[in-house]
């Protein structure tokens, strides 16, 4: 098999596995801070109960994020040595700042947050929780700065095939960064909202009606009701930004072959790259033109303008629909839940079952979104600067295949263990039962 393809699959497998856990910890850290502050303010046991349960989920997710993140830091070099050779002068400082400002902060204070409640004063424990939340978000900031720069590079000049920074402000605040960062942070919020609501609904349906379960359930629903519609707006703005800077990606997302006006919003189609047309199209007339250009005859770029230079169409097209589809379900469930809570109704069983079904929906939507944007950047690794094929290393296909198999087995096993552990914790129902004392803080 082609070593470049194998290297890409391996990198994609690793980064897909990795992103699941920061997606949980970025927002969950802030939720835990919220639980802690509510407990500090009200003294109500339910907030501490919620904290105690979810801090365990956080600890587990954090550990998985750390170890898969370390793998990432090596795979930049093992899989894409050409990347650092060409743009190391830009990527290097950004990654270094992530390690210096975020990694050490998280790694050190997470110990105080998880183990230190009985050893440090209450305010220091709350501060540690805050610093962990700041650290996880800061880490997301630097990584998304670098990733956005790879999509919309600026603030540099090329000398002898090597990028040299000329304007760090322009590099950091590159055109797609604010949209991508906001989109990802909200994605993390939504992932956690449905994880909180889904797992709590599951416990509720099994008869665990304790205060901590109800508090987490309500928190999740309110988060979903606020964040899901916000994500619709942010996602739309992100799309308009992509239209401006990466039209080929938009063309693939819309499955639009010819540059023209009156482009429909395709609900379904099977893009056929060989024939350069879609099959079985079902669309809303003028939909894509309206969304992207705000007028029915607005011109939407087509893939045929970028022959040989556009991403593979089908994966981008389908991943985009998966993301938007889940997002729509999230908006529906979030708003329905807010309405039910506002009217002080008991949450009906069908609604709780719906939340249970959506427990891990944030993961699927986040992965789908990343596939849209990353596959959508191909054939470039850094748009207009470096092609993915140019960055590959000289490692033979056999070695990559061997390690890929090892990683896949490992990740599949760990994912099963993670989900099983979440449900075992949830089933246990009582807090701090035998076997896990360390993450069990006591009310002050």
């Amino acid at each position: 098999m082609d070593p470049i393809l194998l290297a890409r699959i391996q990198f994609a497998a690793n980064i897909s596995f990795h992103i699941l856990f920061p997606t949980v910890t970025i927002a969950l850290a802030w939720v835990l801070l919220f639980f802690k502050l509510r407990f500090n303010a009200t003294g109500q046991a339910r907030w501490m109960d919620a904290y105690r349960f979810w801090v365990k989920v956080f600890a587990l997710s954090f550990a998985l994020g750390v170890v898969s993140g370390i793998t990432m830091s090596f795979q930049f070099g093992t899989n894409w040595p050409g990347f650092m050779n060409a743009v190391g002068n830009i990527a290097g400082p950004l990654l270094a700042y992530e390690v210096l400002t975020a990694f050490f902060l998280e790694a050190t204070f997470v110990a105080i947050m998880l183990f230190g409640m009985s050893r440090v004063p209450g305010w220091l424990h709350t501060l540690a929780t805050l610093l962990v939340a700041v650290g996880t978000s800061m880490s997301a900031f630097w990584i998304l700065v670098l990733n956005s720069w790879m999509h919309t590079p600026q603030g540099f000049e090329m000398r002898d095939g090597v990028a040299h920074a000329t304007d760090w402000w322009a590099i950091i605040f590159n055109p797609s960064m604010p949209y991508r960062l906001a989109h990802m942070l909200i994605a993390s919020g939504l992932t956690v909202a449905f994880l909180l609501a889904g797992l709590s609904a599951w416990r509720w349906l099994r008869g665990d009606r304790s205060g901590g379960v109800a508090a987490a359930l309500r928190t999740g629903i309110v988060m979903a009701a606020v964040l899901a519609p916000t994500q619709l707006v942010v996602g739309d703005l992100h799309g308009l930004n992509t239209l401006e800077h990466q039209p080929a990606k938009i063309a693939a997302m819309e499955g639009n072959w010819e540059t023209r006006g009156n482009v429909p919003l395709l609900l379904f189609a099977i893009p056929d790259e060989a024939a350069r047309e879609n099959r079985f199209e079902i669309g809303i007339p003028n939909g894509a033109s309206l969304i992207l250009r705000h007028s029915a005859d607005g011109v939407v770029p087509g893939l045929n303008d970028f022959v040989g230079e556009h991403p593979p169409v089908a994966p981008v097209f389908f991943a985009f629909r998966a993301m938007v589809g889940i997002g729509s379900l999230m908006i529906g469930l979030g708003l329905a839940g807010a309405w039910l809570l506002w009217r002080r109704r008991d949450l009906p069983r069908w609604y709780l079952r719906g939340l249970v079904a959506m427990t891990f929906s944030g993961w699927v939507a986040t992965l789908a979104g990343w596939y849209v944007t990353e596959i959508g950047r191909q054939p470039w690794l850094v748009t207009g600067v470096l092609r993915t094929a140019e960055a590959a290393g000289p490692v033979p296909a056999g070695s990559i295949g061997l390690t890929l198999a090892m990683y896949l087995v490992l990740y599949a096993g760990l994912l099963i263990a993670y989900v099983a552990t979440l449900y075992r914790l949830a089933r246990k129902g009582e807090y701090g039962a035998a076997g896990d004392h360390r993450a069990v803080p006591q009310p002050a």
Partner: protein, 337 residues
């Protein structure tokens, strides 16, 4: 950012920062990987719990030094990074798998209800720790001989793999002498005592093998006046080993006096060995192929990182000290509250 250091100093500063990160990593993750390896030396679940809880608050921050070290290599010496990681592709992957297993086993073992489940995670904890240590040692051996693939060189790498695993187990045992009490502490003293001589053997073997395989390194150590000026290094190492042997022979002392001394002694031993290696390789970042000057990245980017590092590293050190103070003393029983 405009460089404020002369261009010939900058690569040296970064080589120093990188060496510091790697040294901190080897000492810090060394002791917690060592404790993981020593898990296999006891079958008692409560002893294993105590051993794991002694490193629980530390392992994550310890591992971050590896990320910083490899990050600095990537950032400051991109060409060397490519050469080294391509040559060590498989052991790097194996090490990562080991670190993944060890890191997640912390969490999964704590959440296991069934004792058999917990034992399975303990086995993975041990396997992960040992795999990571062996792969790191293997990589060190391959690196020392400039990625020579002759059978003798691979034999040396194998020796180095075992040496590093033993050295980690030794510093892990010294950590347990400090952080545990009672029967477990006495067993840790015994582990440290036997580990010390294995480590001494490893140091002697590497010290003989490296100058013999490289004329450049031989000249560096044995040409006059270096041979006189450098004499304190091996002499101090020898004295330290004898001192540790005597100390461990008398432990535990009344009122648990000097309980942390073996750990700091082991740390000094690691530092001396590291200094020896660093002296052998300077100014190469890839032995006999690339010097730090040839491999360095653009001065503007390095200056930007240096400024960040100079501001942030003291802060990191400060809160690391805070964490060590918070989690000082003997590892407590499992009941943390």
């Amino acid at each position: 950012m405009t460089p404020f250091l002369p261009p010939e100093v900058l690569p040296l500063v970064f080589a120093g920062l990188m060496a510091l990160s790697v040294l901190l990593y080897v000492v810090l993750d060394g002791f917690d990987l060592g404790v993981g390896i020593l898990l296999a030396a006891t079958r008692a679940p409560e002893e294993r719990d105590r051993m794991v809880s002694s490193i629980g608050p530390f392992w994550d921050a310890n591992e971050t030094w590896l990320v910083l070290g490899i990050g600095l290599l990537l950032v400051a010496f991109p060409t060397a990074h490519g050469v080294i990681l391509t040559a060590l592709y498989l052991p790097v992957a194996l090490m990562l798998a080991g670190l993944i297993l060890r890191g997640v086993a912390f969490e999964f073992r704590a959440k296991a209800e069934d004792p058999a489940d917990k034992r399975r995670w303990d086995r993975l904890f041990f396997t992960g720790s040992l795999t990571a240590a062996l792969s790191q040692g293997w990589m060190l051996g391959r690196y020392v001989l400039g990625f020579d693939a002759a059978p003798a060189a691979l034999g040396f790498a194998l020796l180095s793999a075992l040496g590093v695993a033993v050295a980690y187990a030794f510093i892990g045992a010294c950590w347990l002498v400090w952080r545990t009490e009672g029967a477990l502490q006495r067993r840790a003293i015994a582990w440290a005592r036997s580990g010390l001589w294995a480590v001494a053997g490893g140091i002697v073997a590497v010290s003989i093998a490296t100058p013999l395989t490289s004329e450049r390194i031989f000249a560096r150590w044995f040409a006059f006046p270096n041979v006189v000026l450098l004499a304190p290094l091996p002499l101090a190492t020898g004295a330290l080993i004898l001192g540790l042997h005597a100390l461990l022979g008398h432990m535990p002392l009344p009122r648990d006096a000097l309980r942390n001394l073996p750990f700091w002694g082991a740390t000094s031993l690691f530092c001396l060995s590291f200094a020896g290696l660093a002296w052998s390789f300077y100014p190469y970042v890839v032995p006999d192929q690339l010097t730090v000057y040839q491999a360095a990245a653009a001065p503007e980017s390095l200056t930007l990182i240096l400024v960040g590092a100079l501001i942030v590293l003291p802060v990191i050190l400060a809160y690391t000290v805070l964490a060590w103070l918070v989690f000082g003393g003997k590892a407590r029983e499992l009941h943390y509250h």
